[in-house]
């Protein structure tokens, strides 16, 4: 029979949460390691969470589990999480997301999911940004446990430090689409409402060159109109 290690199913025994000093000492000691798990696990302990999951929000809509950077959530919950968090994520605008840095939000896991023993259906999530990549830290808690807002914010911040340190969140946008600096500049000015003539003046190059850049952008991003190209750029945080 196939044995699969699928993350701990049981809630950990009553965790004694650690102090901020202990947490910081631990983080400093493991900072050289490329493995985020040890640091994130310590952060989870600090806030009294039973499990943690660190995800890349920009990868959420793809199938598969690439959105997970590091986690000790029970595996079957992880598989459902993508569709659940995507729904919440899509409901807020970019500006709203900007105004929620490190703000803990609470959501419920679907009723049809059987949860591990004594784990609350309510999970907490916080987003933060490393460069162009938005990340979400999602935490499970034991039933009846109310995490402290201060500790949650500290944990979010320190998670950001750990990820910054380990360079996990290398931007994918520019590399994936291979847009050159000039092409991105054109996109920026178009999003500001400038015409090709105006951009030509701004950048000091000819209008034909500008149009060539734009054609190139539309080819690389498989878009048919300037409107679509700009929409694409805004959606992918390129402008």
């Amino acid at each position: 029979m196939l044995q699969v290690n699928s993350g701990s199913m049981e809630a950990p025994a009553a965790t004694t949460t650690i102090s901020r000093d202990q947490l910081l000492r631990h983080l400093a000691s493991v900072s050289g390691s490329p493995d985020l798990h040890s640091s994130l696990h310590a952060l989870a302990q600090y806030v009294g969470a039973s499990h943690y999951l660190l995800a890349r929000c920009d990868v959420l809509q793809e199938n598969g589990l690439d959105f997970v950077i590091s986690s000790d959530w029970p595996f079957y919950l992880v598989k459902r999480l993508a569709s659940e968090s995507m729904a919440t994520y899509a409901r807020t605008s970019e500006v709203e997301k900007c105004l929620q840095l490190f703000q803990p939000g609470f959501s419920l896991l679907p009723d049809d999911l059987a949860l591990p023993d004594r784990i609350s259906r309510q999970y907490c999530s916080m987003t933060f940004n490393i460069g162009r990549t938005r990340l979400s830290l999602m935490l499970l808690f034991r039933e009846g446990f109310a995490p402290s807002p201060e500790r949650l914010r500290d944990a979010g911040l320190l998670a950001g430090y750990c990820v910054s340190f380990s360079h996990y969140a290398e931007g994918r946008s520019e590399r994936d689409f291979e847009l050159t600096d000039r092409e991105l500049e054109c996109l920026f000015w178009i999003a500001e409402g400038k015409t090709s003539d105006e951009i030509a003046v701004i950048l000091g190059i000819s209008r034909n060159t500008i149009n060539n850049y734009i054609t190139s952008v539309m080819r690389k991003t498989a878009t048919k109109t300037r409107s679509e190209a700009i929409a694409f750029a805004v959606r992918n945080n390129l402008v």
Binding site: C98, L157, E170, W189
Partner: protein
């Protein structure tokens, strides 16, 4: 799936001057002499991004001090914003003018020393597509224990979010967009030309263009392309 709720934020501020007492309190926490808040603007990834001073208490020499700071470290700060949220520390010209962290050294980044008269620390705040920048404190000498760093960085994030909220308040859409206007914007953003939108929504091309035109005006834009960009950022369309 039931909708998420967020923990209540601290009370909204009504103007930039509300931020000064908070920044002064933060500055006093670490015995610094000045604070400065700067924000990133300009072309997204095109390397033409610029930092602009938004708030500071340098006093009568404010313009010169702000410029000196950005001249010295502006490029590094812009570059750093693209890949990390670790705090930045720098030492000043004098021997005794240093910024120290006894216990959080791996999680801080050192800038080139001796470029400015005083030492200091800069906390990067990356909110997302907009509102990014640094909250910095300048001092003759500063010794930052880890809990001070965490505390100040957390408060810095709040400052930048409040600044962004102020900006948003100052320029709301003149009126709400109608359903038709939203539908036309969405389809245009999906790559449809006016004829296709007209067919899809069973309107004439003129009507479609009229809707796009009125949406453009309501979103305070010069053309439909700029309107689409704003509409996505503000959440009217996806």
């Amino acid at each position: 799936m039931s909708s998420a709720f967020k923990m209540p934020r601290t009370q909204r501020i009504s103007s930039r001057s509300d931020l000064y007492p908070r920044l002064v309190a933060m500055q006093k926490l670490i015995d610094a002499q000045h604070f400065a808040v700067c924000r990133l603007g300009g072309a997204g990834a095109a390397g033409k991004a610029r930092l602009t001073m938004e708030l500071d208490n340098f006093g009568p020499t404010s313009a010169a001090d702000g410029k000196a700071f950005l001249d010295a470290y502006g490029d590094v700060l812009i570059d750093h914003m693209d890949k990390s949220m670790l705090p930045l520390l720098w030492n000043g010209v004098d021997e005794g003018s240093t910024a120290e962290t006894p216990d959080l050294t791996p999680f801080t980044v050192r800038l080139r020393p001796k470029l400015l008269p005083c030492a200091g620390v800069a906390f990067p705040v990356r909110l997302g597509a907009v509102g990014n920048g640094y909250v910095s404190f300048m001092a003759n000498y500063v010794d930052l224990a880890s809990d001070l760093i965490v505390e100040l960085h957390g408060r810095s994030c709040q400052i930048m979010m409040d600044l962004l909220a102020l900006d948003e308040k100052r320029s709301p859409a003149a009126e709400a967009l109608s359903d038709r206007e939203i539908a036309c914007l969405q389809l245009a953003g999906d790559g449809r030309i006016s004829e296709e939108i007209a067919e899809r929504l069973r309107l004439s091309v003129h009507t479609v263009n009229a809707y796009l035109g009125s949406a453009t005006i309501k979103l305070d834009s010069v053309n439909r392309i700029q309107a689409i960009a704003k509409a996505i950022r503000l959440g009217y369309i996806i």
